[in-house]
Symmetry: C2
Subunit: 233 residues, 2 copies
């Protein structure tokens, strides 16, 4: 049982949130100062601060020093997306994970890759194309470009036993990650690799990662038909 004489920051958050939902404060309106809310609700200012921080993280309010706290004028649906290692994702669904190295080359990065890394000049990179399978059926095809300047270990690595995906995630943590999600039709090559028909709608995840502004890798992951990305739950 909760102690009712003490107010938790979640209770404070909910009370403020309810005040917004009820219309007492509309989009763009300014809320009272933390200190005033604290006094009114008989709790410490830091408790209100904690509650406000959560509302701010959720995109409900916006806070500025001196400017105070305001209800966000344009609400957004903000959610957290978890993308696990592909092996993990397959195994969690009960599938048996395998992978195939399709091709491994050193090439000058095309403009698409240059753009993803915000590079102005062409650069030689390691390109790795691989297929992830669940119960021997194609699951995700990945077309990956690796900056050998940032990841020199990759040059002489055996990518048939451990996938580049897994090695990088376990050994090259990043400080920045950009994602791009979209749909794409299967061309002849993709249709064959993913064991589907030409023209099938495929879900694509493009990811680029950096460590302190140094590019690590960018990968275009193309999922076989039926793939879904979930949040919540």
């Amino acid at each position: 049982m909760n102690n009712t004489s003490r107010l938790s920051w979640k209770a404070v958050r909910d009370e403020i949130h309810d005040a917004i939902l009820s219309g007492r404060y509309g989009p763009g309106d300014r809320l009272p100062r933390d200190a005033d809310i604290a006094q009114e609700m008989s709790c410490a200012r830091s408790t209100v601060q904690r509650a406000m921080q959560d509302l701010s993280d959720s995109g409900i309010v916006e806070r500025r020093r001196k400017g105070g706290t305001r209800v966000r004028a344009e609400p957004v649906t903000r959610t957290t997306l978890d993308i696990p290692i592909t092996r993990r994702e397959i195994e969690q669904k009960g599938g048996r994970y395998t992978h195939q190295l399709i091709r491994r080359t050193e090439q000058t990065a095309p403009r698409r890759v240059q753009a993803a890394f915000e590079l102005t000049e062409p650069r030689l990179m390691l390109r790795v194309e691989a297929l992830h399978l669940s119960d021997a059926r194609p699951y995700i095809f990945e077309d990956r470009w690796i900056d050998l300047g940032t990841v020199p270990e990759m040059r002489d690595m055996d990518l048939t036993t451990q996938s580049a995906n897994e090695w990088l995630v376990l050994n090259k943590p990043y400080s920045r990650c950009d994602l791009r999600l979209y749909a794409q039709s299967a061309d002849a090559q993709l249709a064959e690799l993913l064991d589907t028909t030409v023209g099938a709608a495929l879900f694509v995840i493009e990811r680029a990662t950096w460590i302190d502004s140094a590019p690590i890798t960018t990968v275009k992951s193309i999922a076989a038909p039926g793939y879904q990305l979930l949040t919540g739950t």
Copy 2:
């Protein structure tokens, strides 16, 4: 300039993060107790707590009472996704926003909708099909189901001036939101609505929202070709 005699929680976080990246603590390893780290770094325990909370939110470590703090064994790519109101999204890209109400009916929710809301019995709901346009070109088609028990105001509302999307976002805040992202081929009807060809790969966002376990609405938003969802930046 920062005062160097005092350690900010971000500095503490980065130092712990670096220790993990350097391999001093590998996946699954247990970190020292907050109190010990605090003493070693000469700061308050709550500062370490704040740093650890951030690392935990980012999916770097996992924390349990009595169990301590451990480096996450299976790393994930965790990111925040913002989905604005469709009108706002279009206007921010410089387009002129308009929308069309295609159809409005009361129907028994199909199994897909029942499943999204985790309902066991069929229920009568309001179905609203609408098209969002950017500069008079189709942008997103939405197929929406609204629980009139939770949102009775919707029964007699004029949905031609303000879209259901906008009214709901501004007036019916939710406490829970589930998302499902995938790709789908355009059938004849979708191709015509979105002014594209049959078979085109379309990006789909399915969203379900609740207020305190009461269903509000579920919407399947089907984007015209070329649509991309971005994070980071």
